[in-house]
């Protein structure tokens, strides 16, 4: 292990900064990828909580038929904001910007990303985007009410602040592109000696695939958003049938980005799963290459399925069946991953710590989300289920049950490394159990509601839906309690928790081979890689006591 001799710094990255400032400025002007990761954690985490509050308000409105706490127009703004915040401010940047920033360089055995200043700029661009969203709420005209998909023609006709809000989405896209190109360059140029592509941890592979999607897909939404803004200001007519434009073309352009974006959301989560499972099963991941390649396959095929959002929009039959077929094909690489994960657990020496419990939850919830995706991916059933609560349930299962769950799993897994302290395991376990119950209570009824015909984006409903809607609302309260438990536990740990050791879980990827929290330059030694990423024979050499 002791390769090379390097001046040892006893200080952590909290105590040493990349600039000459101290206090808040040392954070706001930092180029340290770890601090930038934490800046993202606090801001993105904050927006997640705002999004949750909006979700709870909607659920409260839906507790009984008729107007309960908000009127129809307010409800329109609520679901739009909830969607915009959850998608553009939480789930798309979430895992790459927080955990990617913090751990990509460490797992590669290097000291920072390829462009540290650009990295800080990306955070500021994110903040500008977020602030624009907030400004659009208070300006005269009122908060945007189009739904997060901004469909033409309504988004051109409505008098609410659409232009500003979608410009914010444009700006956020910029941040996403910059992070993406930074990560790609880092992976190509900064791997530690000995770290070939196939010695990279799978989290890196998934970030790499994600970064490519960010770079390739985001510009398309950029131009589409610009066109909507131009349409609103000058009435050019690109999407306006009265002037010869085609509103369906908008849907194509929108989903050409937004469907790949779905994979921007899920791929990093799959990467985190592939990190957590080996650590707690104490054995190497099953099918390393299959998982790595399936990330790339998902990234690629994910491009070619966008029109499955448009089965009922009147596109041609040939197009519909081709897109339906391709949709089924994306299920294959996703299935490869699920089987490999389960196989990793087989005959492992399983250590059921909180991160693993969350991953198990994930496998279950994400499988439901994925399989119901096939239900709406089939032409015949989609006609019945399109724009109903079935779809709402489906995408919450994949986005929240998939990526959201892993967001929390990742926090539990890497918290001791990021903050150098340990949380209360018992409460973490309780939260995991509660979460699973709350989640299914909140969203499973929506599948049935959708099947019965409850349309999405309505603040009111027929009396026969009442019971299921009530169950769902009670589920949302349970979810709120769960989230409060999680957040309190982590904040408490951050302030007062026990000191965590360098390797509390017995992981073998590089982040567990440095102190918790890491020093400014990540390692107090010269890193050279001579193992496969999940080779647990190293565990003896690493200071891990399994107490």
């Amino acid at each position: 292990m002791a390769n090379g001799t390097v001046a040892v710094s006893e200080k952590t990255f909290y105590e040493e900064s990349t600039n000459k400032y101290s206090g808040i400025l040392s954070w706001l002007l930092t180029t340290d990828h770890k601090r930038i990761g934490l800046l993202y954690l606090y801001t993105i985490g904050g927006f997640f909580l705002v999004g949750v509050v909006l979700g709870l308000l909607m659920r409260l409105e839906l507790i009984a038929p008729g107007e309960t706490i908000v009127d129809a127009q307010t409800y329109n703004s609520l679901f739009t904001l909830h969607g915009v915040i959850m998608i553009f401010l939480f789930i798309v940047p979430g895992l790459p910007a927080i955990f990617g920033n913090f751990f990509l360089p460490i797992q590669l055995g290097t000291n920072d990303v390829a462009f540290p200043r650009l990295n800080l700029l990306s955070w500021y661009v994110y903040i500008i985007g977020a602030v624009l969203v907030l400004i659009s709420l208070v300006l005269p005209g009122g908060p945007i009410d189009t739904g997060w998909t901004f469909y033409i023609p309504y988004s051109v006709r409505t008098s609410t602040n659409v232009s500003l809000a979608i410009f914010a989405a444009f700006v956020l896209g910029f941040s996403s592109i910059l992070t993406g190109l930074n990560f790609i360059t880092t992976v190509h140029r900064m791997r530690a000696p000995g770290m070939g592509f196939f010695r990279m941890p799978l989290f890196i592979w998934s970030l790499y695939a994600t970064a490519w999607i960010q770079v390739i897909a985001t510009p398309v939404i950029g131009i589409t958003i610009l066109l909507v803004i131009l349409e609103r200001t000058f009435g050019v007519g690109i999407f306006d049938p009265a002037l010869g434009g085609d509103p369906i073309l908008y849907q194509h352009m929108f989903w050409i980005y937004s469907h790949p974006a779905v994979y921007i959301m899920i791929l990093p989560a799959m990467g985190v799963v592939s990190e957590i499972l080996p650590t707690f099963a104490r054995r190497t991941i099953f099918g390393y290459k299959a998982i790595a390649y399936s990330s790339l396959a998902i990234a690629f095929v994910g491009y070619l399925v966008w029109a499955h959002h448009m089965f009922t929009s009147g596109i041609s039959d040939t197009a519909r069946w081709i897109f339906s077929l391709l949709t089924f094909i994306v299920a294959l690489p996703s299935g490869v991953k699920v089987f490999n994960w389960v196989a990793t657990l087989y005959k492992g020496s399983i250590d059921p710590k909180p991160p693993l419990l969350w991953v198990l939850s994930f496998i279950f919830l994400f499988s439901i989300g994925g399989l119901t995706g096939l239900v709406v991916g089939s032409l015949a059933t989609d006609i019945h289920l399109h724009d109903t609560y079935f779809v709402v349930a489906h995408f919450h299962y994949v986005m929240f049950g998939g990526t959201g769950t892993i967001f929390i799993a990742g926090l539990y897994y890497w918290f001791p490394k990021m903050f150098g302290r340990m949380y209360n395991i018992k409460w973490a376990n309780i939260a995991a159990a509660l979460y699973f119950i709350a989640f299914n209570m909140l969203y499973f009824p929506k599948f049935i509601l959708g099947y019965m015909g409850m349309p999405r984006r309505y603040f009111d409903y027929l009396p026969e839906f009442t019971t299921l809607q009530e169950i769902s609302t009670v589920g949302s309260w349970l979810m709120a309690i769960t989230i409060i438990i999680i957040v309190t536990n982590l904040i408490h740990a951050g302030l007062k928790g026990k000191k965590a050791s360098a390797n509390p879980w017995g992981g073998v990827t590089l982040e567990w081979q440095t102190t918790s929290p890491p020093p400014l330059h990540n390692f107090n030694r010269h890193v050279e890689v001579n193992h496969e990423p999940y080779d647990f024979s190293q565990l003896k050499e690493l200071e891990y006591d399994s107490k």
Binding site: T185, A192, V215, V236, L243, D246
Partner: protein, 212 residues
């Protein structure tokens, strides 16, 4: 890979000494890729509407001034040459030639914008701008042609302006000896950006001016 072997030392906690020219260029290429896709979205829409309104596009395209477009194409192509010359000059350590060529590039870029201004204002005088009565009286396909024309050349014009700003910054850096014969990756990246602006114009020109 020497860059990666840069060792960690606690004294130099600030200042990322690390420099990686290949990495910097790789980042730039990725960025250019996103620019291509931004315009790619527009080219896609152009293709769809051209297919839908073939006759109208033909008629509307005749209104554009081929000579003006050709002039601008020559200007922009030459400016790509001068920026390349500036890079070669700096590689050979000839600061004077580099500064000269960068200045010429900027002047070409401004000439391009001036031409564009005259071209657009001529259209405006004829009442051909989005939302005008004149425009709305045209058949749908022609409205679409002009809509795309304004959006695409406008977006391109915006890139020319950004390009001028980048080139001006490069000029200052060369003058201040921040870009030298052994550290010129910034200028190369600036040049790449300028070539992109040029490249996109090379596609816009035939699509709008030449295909009748």
């Amino acid at each position: 890979m020497t860059q990666n072997e840069h060792t960690v030392s606690s004294e130099h906690s600030h200042a990322h000494v690390h420099r990686d020219d290949i990495g910097a260029k790789m980042g730039m290429w990725l960025f250019l890729f996103t620019e291509l896709l931004l315009f790619g979205g527009m080219f896609l829409m152009y293709a769809v509407y051209r297919f839908q309104y073939q006759m109208d596009f033909k008629i509307a395209a005749m209104e554009l001034s081929v000579s003006m477009g050709t002039l601008n194409t020559i200007i922009l192509l030459t400016s790509s040459l001068t920026v390349a010359l500036a890079i070669t000059a700096i590689q050979k350590g000839n600061k004077f030639l580099a500064v000269l060529n960068l200045n010429i590039t900027i002047i070409f870029a401004l000439m391009f914008m001036v031409n564009k201004y005259y071209e657009w204002s001529a259209k405006f005088e004829h009442g051909l701008y989005p939302g005008s009565d004149e425009m709305l009286s045209l058949p749908n396909g022609q409205i679409m042609f002009y809509g795309l024309y304004y959006i695409m050349t406008g977006l391109h014009g915006l890139h020319v302006i950004i390009g001028v700003i980048i080139l001006a910054i490069m000029l200052v850096l060369v003058i201040k000896d921040k870009i030298t014969s052994d550290n010129y990756v910034k200028l190369e990246n600036g040049g790449l950006y300028w070539h992109l602006v040029d490249l996109i114009w090379i596609f816009l020109f035939p699509l709008f001016y030449l295909i009748h």
